[in-house]
C-alpha cells in the first residue's frame, strides 16, 4: 500500500497543566497510516491525558497538533472526529441504556426530513449498523440489543465498531483489553490487526506487554509526563519496555 508510510497525526511538544500540576511536558508523538503505535507508561505518566488532548477533550496548554501535515486546533471531540480521529475509551464511553446501533451513531445519527423537522432515521441506523458489524465480523444477537445486556468483550467490540463507523483514519484505544475475559482478548487484537490492514493508524495504550507485542509496530514510553523512550518493536524487548515504564533505561 502506498499510503502505508503517510504521516497521519503528529503532536509537537504538547504540554498540559492542570492548575499547578504538570501532566504533560513537551511530548511528541507520530502515527503513520497502517501502523500501530503502543504507548506505555506507569499510572499517572500522562498516557490518558495525552490521548484526551489528541481527541480534543482537553486543550493543550502549549504545543500543537498536525493532521496530515496541517496544523489543527481541536476545540472539542467533534473537531477530531471530523478529521477522522477516533477514541475508544477505557470506560468504553457507551450509554448502557441505548441499543447498540444508537450507541454507534450517538452524536452523528442519520436523520430524515419531515417538513422542517429532522427526525431520526431508525431504519437507516439499523441497516448501517448491521452492515458495519458484519464487516468487522462482530457477532451480536441484534443491533437493537441494549449495550447493558452485552458482555465485556461485546461492549469493547461495539466501542471499536463505533470508532470506525465513520471512515476513521486514526483510532486511539485506551486499555482495549483491560476489562476482558482471556478468550475475548484475542478477538479484540484480531480486530486491531484487521484495522491496520485497512490503512488505519492505531494507537494502543496498554499495560499488557502481550497486547503491545501482538499488534504494535512501534512502542513509546511516557515517564512523569515526558517522552522517555521510543523504539521499533523489532529492536526492543519486553524487559527493556518494562524497564522504561519504571523509568530505567
Amino acid at each position: 500500500m502506498s499510503s502505508i508510510n503517510q504521516l497521519l497525526l503528529e503532536a509537537k511538544s504538547v504540554t498540559k497543566y492542570f492548575g499547578t500540576i504538570t501532566a504533560l511536558e513537551n511530548v511528541n508523538l507520530k502515527i503513520h497510516a497502517g501502523e500501530c503505535l503502543g504507548v506505555v507508561g506507569d499510572n499517572g505518566a500522562g498516557k490518558t491525558t495525552l490521548m484526551k488532548v489528541l481527541s480534543g477533550l482537553y486543550k493543550p496548554s502549549s504545543g500543537s497538533l498536525y493532521f496530515e501535515g496541517k496544523k489543527e486546533v481541536l476545540e472539542s471531540p467533534k473537531d477530531s472526529q471530523e478529521l477522522g480521529l477516533e477514541m475508544v475509551y477505557q470506560d468504553l464511553a457507551l450509554a448502557g441504556n441505548l441499543p447498540i446501533g444508537e450507541n454507534i451513531f450517538l452524536g452523528r445519527e442519520p436523520t430524515k426530513n419531515l417538513g422542517f423537522i429532522k427526525l431520526l432515521d431508525f431504519k437507516k441506523i439499523k441497516e448501517l449498523t448491521d452492515a458495519h458489524l458484519g464487516k468487522l465480523k462482530i457477532n451480536v444477537k441484534s443491533a437493537d440489543q441494549k449495550v447493558e445486556e452485552l458482555s465485556g468483550g461485546q461492549r469493547q467490540a461495539v466501542a471499536i465498531a463505533r470508532s470506525t463507523a465513520f471512515n476513521a483514519k486514526v483510532v486511539i484505544m485506551d486499555e482495549p483489553t483491560a476489562a476482558l475475559a482471556i478468550k475475548e482478548v484475542g478477538k479484540v487484537l484480531d480486530l486491531i490487526n484487521s484495522l491496520k490492514k485497512t490503512g488505519v493508524g492505531v494507537i494502543v495504550i496498554s499495560h499488557r506487554m502481550d497486547d503491545i507485542f501482538a499488534v504494535c509496530d512501534r512502542v513509546m514510553a511516557l515517564f512523569q509526563g515526558t517522552n522517555f523512550a521510543e523504539s521499533e518493536l523489532s529492536k526492543t524487548s519486553r524487559d527493556e519496555v518494562i524497564g522504561w515504564i519504571m523509568g530505567k533505561k
Binding site: S76, A95, L98, E102, R108
Partner: protein, 337 residues
C-alpha cells in the same frame, strides 16, 4: 446452562421489553376497572372523566418537564414555584390591562426564563447537583412571586386568557348532549404529550437527553454538547411549568400565593410511578402520562368514595414505593451482572 433454563431465560428476555413498556398501562387499566366496580354509576361518566382530565391538566405539564430532567439524572424542585411566579406575573400583566395575547404569552416566557436560570446555574455555576440549584430557586421564585404581588391573590381574567384551562369544545354536532363537551385542557394535554413524545424518541436532541442520563461521559465523548442540552432541558421544563400556569389561570381565574405549593413532589411522584429512573436514562413519555393519570384517578376515586385526604397521602406514598420495587425486580431480571 441446560436447555430448560435457556428457554426460561429467553422467555423472560422476550417479555421484559413489553412489561417495561406497557406494564404501567396495565396498572392504570386495573385501577380504572377497580374504580368502575366500586363506583359504577359515577366513575366512568362523561362528567367525571372530563373532571379527572381537568384536575390533572396543569400537573401533567409539570410532570412532563420534570420527567425530561429526571431522564438526564437531574431533578427540578422549582417547577411549582416557577408555575406560581409565572401565574403571578400573568395576573399582574392582566390587571395592567395588556391585550389577551400578551397576557397569555407572559407565563410561557416567564417559565422559560426561570428554567433557563436553573439550567445556566447548574452548568455555568457548576452546582454539584441540580437538587441544590433548584432547591434554591424553589425559594427564590416563590419569594419573587410574593414580592411582586404583595402576597395577595389577584383575580379576574378575560375568557381568552382562560381558554386553555377553562374552555370547552362543543360536541353537540356529534349528536352528544350539551353537557358532554371536551375540555380544551384535555386536547392541550394530548397535543403537548404527542409533541414531546416525538421530541424525546425521534429527534437527535431527545436521544442525547437519554444518552446523557445513560452515561454523560459517553455523550460528551460522542461530541454531544452536554451543557447545552442540559440548559435546553431545564428551559423546556420551565416552559412547561409556564403552560401549567396558563392552564391554572384559566381553571381558577386567579393568581394566588399558594399556587403549585408542593406540586413539584407530585410531579416527581408521577414520573417515578410512571417508570422513570432517578439514575437517569430510563422512562417514557407514555409512562409519565400513566403516572399522572394513576395519581389523578386515585385522588378522584378516593374523593368519590369519601375517603379522607389523609388516606390519599398514605396510598400515593405506598404506590410510589410499590412501583419502584417492581422496577427493582424488573432490573434484576433484565440486566446482566
Amino acid at each position: 446452562m441446560d436447555n430448560k433454563d435457556q428457554e426460561k431465560d429467553s422467555l423472560y428476555l422476550k417479555l421484559i421489553p413489553y412489561f417495561d413498556r406497557y406494564g404501567i398501562l396495565l396498572l392504570l387499566l386495573i385501577m380504572i376497572v377497580v374504580m368502575h366496580f366500586l363506583q359504577p354509576d359515577v366513575f366512568l361518566s362523561w362528567r367525571n372523566v372530563t373532571n379527572v382530565f381537568k384536575q390533572i391538566s396543569w400537573q401533567s405539564m409539570l410532570a412532563l418537564g420534570v420527567f425530561m430532567v429526571i431522564v438526564t439524572a437531574g431533578i427540578d424542585l422549582s417547577v411549582g414555584s416557577i408555575m406560581m411566579l409565572s401565574l403571578m406575573i400573568l395576573a399582574i400583566v392582566a390587571k395592567a390591562g395588556a391585550p389577551w395575547f400578551v397576557v397569555a404569552m407572559t407565563p410561557l416566557i416567564a417559565g422559560l426564563i426561570c428554567g433557563l436560570i436553573n439550567g445556566l446555574g447548574i452548568t455555568i455555576l457548576r452546582m454539584p447537583h441540580p437538587f441544590i440549584m433548584t432547591l434554591g430557586t424553589l425559594y427564590i421564585f416563590r419569594g419573587t412571586g410574593n414580592l411582586i404581588s404583595g402576597g395577595t391573590p389577584i383575580s379576574g381574567f378575560t375568557d381568552e386568557v382562560r381558554y386553555l384551562g377553562h374552555g370547552r369544545i362543543d360536541l353537540t354536532w356529534l349528536g352528544l348532549e350539551k353537557s358532554q363537551y371536551l375540555p380544551v385542557s384535555l386536547v392541550l394535554i394530548a397535543i403537548v404529550y404527542i409533541i414531546f413524545w416525538v421530541f424525546m424518541n425521534h429527534t437527535r436532541t431527545g436521544k442525547w437527553i437519554y444518552a446523557i442520563g445513560g452515561n454523560p461521559s459517553a455523550a460528551r465523548a460522542s461530541g454531544v454538547n452536554v451543557n447545552k442540552i442540559l440548559v435546553i432541558v431545564y428551559s423546556l421544563c420551565g416552559f412547561l411549568s409556564g403552560i401549567g400556569a396558563l392552564i391554572l389561570a384559566g381553571r381558577t381565574d386567579s393568581g394566588y400565593p399558594n399556587a403549585g405549593l408542593q406540586s413539584e413532589l407530585d410531579a416527581i411522584a408521577a414520573c417515578i410511578i410512571g417508570g422513570a429512573s432517578f439514575f437517569g436514562g430510563r422512562g417514557t413519555v407514555l409512562g409519565v402520562f400513566a403516572g399522572v393519570m394513576i395519581m389523578g384517578i386515585l385522588r378522584n376515586g378516593l374523593n368519590l368514595m369519601d375517603v379522607s385526604s389523609f388516606w390519599q397521602q398514605v396510598l400515593i406514598g405506598s404506590i410510589i414505593v410499590l412501583a419502584v420495587y417492581i422496577d427493582v425486580l424488573r432490573r434484576d431480571l433484565g440486566t446482566r451482572k
